[in-house]
Symmetry: C2
Subunit: 359 residues, 2 copies
DNA sequence: GTGAAAGCGCTAACAT
DNA sequence: ATGTTAGCGCTTTCAC
């Protein structure tokens, strides 16, 4: 129940002026104080249990040593490692983070970004931007540095740290092709998100390059990146009338949903249908059939983005990397096998143009 | 790049005094201002994009509308739902949360609690207390309200929200007993944590109640609640010389580790050995063999603790529930089967006293 | 019903 | 090398 110790208290206790005390406690301020005095003041401070009031100092200096972390949903296994990666570089520098979950709802995001701005965060690490994100534009108007990670914005040049999505899709699509698949469906992610969009584009362009017939590679875009959407849209693909032997899913959770639906329909993965994911989420690694997927660097993405933000914090004009692309890696496990019957052997009559939905 | 709008700016723009503007913007202050004036000021405020500076107001009022959330590790699937539960009650009330990860390292926890205190959090939700936690004692000295959840402290009366651990252990042990097991090992959690400790105590007392011979129910305490420790200590149990037909694990992650080790040793779950968990972590539900475990309420624990803290924030003298015990539920799945051969049929010569390790 | 003024705890420009 | 002073943006007591 002790009242909090302030600089004034330390001043009284040591006989020095508050400003002297302030200087003595300031690590980097190379204000010329006697070693002697500094030591003494620090000693008393720690004895009395002094802890700097960051509100007051922040009010004065305009730096709160607090940053905002915007994510879609901490419950999604993709994000906790990212958060720890961020923390691993920011915490040693004295920063704390306020984490908010947007659930990918723009109005919510807008409100939460205000919550952060009100609290004077020095910068924001944004892992939940929409391709076209109003709130980030507003942030820049307020001169709050932002770095996006995991996803990127378009048009506005905000530094971002992303995975090499295109290469990931290429690796997995080439792998499927190599196993003999020629009719491959794509369970695409939300098109309002760069991850969903870029992966779909890559699927199309790599498909063309491999000479896959677009009419034999149906795609459906989901509304969310989750299991339920995986179930729903996998059903849509199966019912679409275009036969295929493999489903390339835009992420692991969609793949999990797809596998669940396939099982319900009596199909076995990979015997009757090959399925691939994206992200290589840690908990998914333990599930059968072990998913062939693309590993992305979660912790490292957090680290990289935090480092860039740190640079920007030190110098807002710093010429930071505008686009950091993290390498990805194909992880081959058990959810892909050669097609039972080559799709091209099917009667042409069964073919219809693919149904494409945009979110 | 616009400078931030302050009350002073609004005062200038509306022709009123800052204090009037402040009052007009204060929701609950029923200071008698003309409806007219209030409306006008609010209008201008929103037009000019005013956002209250919480540093300044916090400095004045000693309330930051920010709370600290202390967890062991956000990467552990137990905690994200708890965090969302907390958020679900605090966010509508205008609170933001600073989340810190202690990794169950006391020095780290101590430092992080300081990080929170420096930033003037109004209260702390602590999901990572040690049974004997210094940092929480310090917090109380500073008159910062604390509610623990998931785990509890001993001795000091800090309000806590916990699961009905004892009942969970009872349910699962009775279930094993009912399936015919008489020689049951316990892979106990860290004894420095209430969860580890209470579950072990319950295991012993329910075991006695059921008439299980202690010499036939070996226990080992792990150092952490994770898979690697599950592997390590399951090996220790198997090599301990006391035969058993089931392993009751103190949580799901230990159970996962135990299952992995059993598999390595050529044992099949549940044919050769039954295994149970605790928590019913969402990602574990998808893993084979589907784990028989105890479901705890994660989101609800977060909610409950946040509500109690809220009460304390409104009135530090409020007579809040000191101990909220959330009900648990046995979830029977596929990791338990009757023992292949009754343990009691084994030669008594093979029996040695159990090896018990305390963390 | 509105204005004036003080001050939360700190830092930094300016004195000495 | 240390002290003085002003003020960050806000709330709140007191005055009118």
């Amino acid at each position: 129940m002790t009242k909090r110790v302030t600089l004034k208290d330390l001043a009284k206790a040591t006989g020095f002026h508050v400003s002297t005390v302030s200087r003595a406690l300031d690590l980097n301020s190379r204000s010329n104080l006697t070693e002697e005095v500094v030591r003494h003041i620090r000693e008393v401070a720690s004895e009395m249990g002094y802890r700097r009031n960051r509100l007051a100092s922040g009010l004065r200096t305009n730096r709160t040593m607090t940053i905002g972390v915007v994510i879609p949903d901490i419950t999604n296994a993709l994000f906790p490692p990212i958060v720890r990666g961020i923390e691993s570089v920011l915490e040693p520098e004295g920063y704390a983070s306020i984490i908010v979950n947007t659930d990918n709802v723009p109005e919510r995001e807008m409100r939460l970004v205000d919550v952060l701005a009100e609290r004077g965060v020095d910068g924001i690490l944004h892992a939940a931007p929409m391709r076209d994100d109003e709130s980030i534009v507003r942030l820049r108007e307020q001169a709050i540095p932002v770095v996006t990670l995991n996803r990127r914005m378009e048009a506005v040049p905000v530094p971002c740290v992303v995975n090499d999505e295109a290469r990931g899709i290429r690796l997995v699509l080439e792998h499927l092709y190599g196993e003999g698949h020629r009719s491959i469906a794509h369970l695409a992610g939300p098109q309002a998100l760069s991850t969903g969009n870029v992966r779909l584009e890559a699927f199309r362009s790599v498909g063309r390059e491999l000479g896959l017939a677009e009419a034999e590679c149906p795609t459906v875009s989901t509304v969310r990146f989750d299991e339920d959407e995986g179930v729903r849209c996998a059903a849509e693909l199966l019912d679409g009338g275009v036969p295929f032997t493999a489903v390339l899913c835009a992420n692991d959770r969609l793949a999990l949903g797809a596998i669940r639906l396939l099982r319900e329909r009596g199909l076995t993965v990979p015997r009757n249908m090959s399925v691939t994911g994206f992200n290589d989420l840690q908990p998914v690694r333990l599930i059968e059939p072990r998913l062939t997927t693309v590993r992305v660097q979660q912790f490292e993405a957090g680290e990289a983005a935090a480092r860039i933000l740190l640079e920007l914090l030190r110098n807002p004009e710093a010429a930071v990397e505008l686009e950091t692309i993290l390498p990805v890696e194909l992880v081959i496990r058990d959810s892909v096998a050669p097609p039972a019957r080559a799709a091209s052997a099917r009667p042409a009559a069964a073919r219809k143009p693919p149904r494409v939905r945009r979110a």
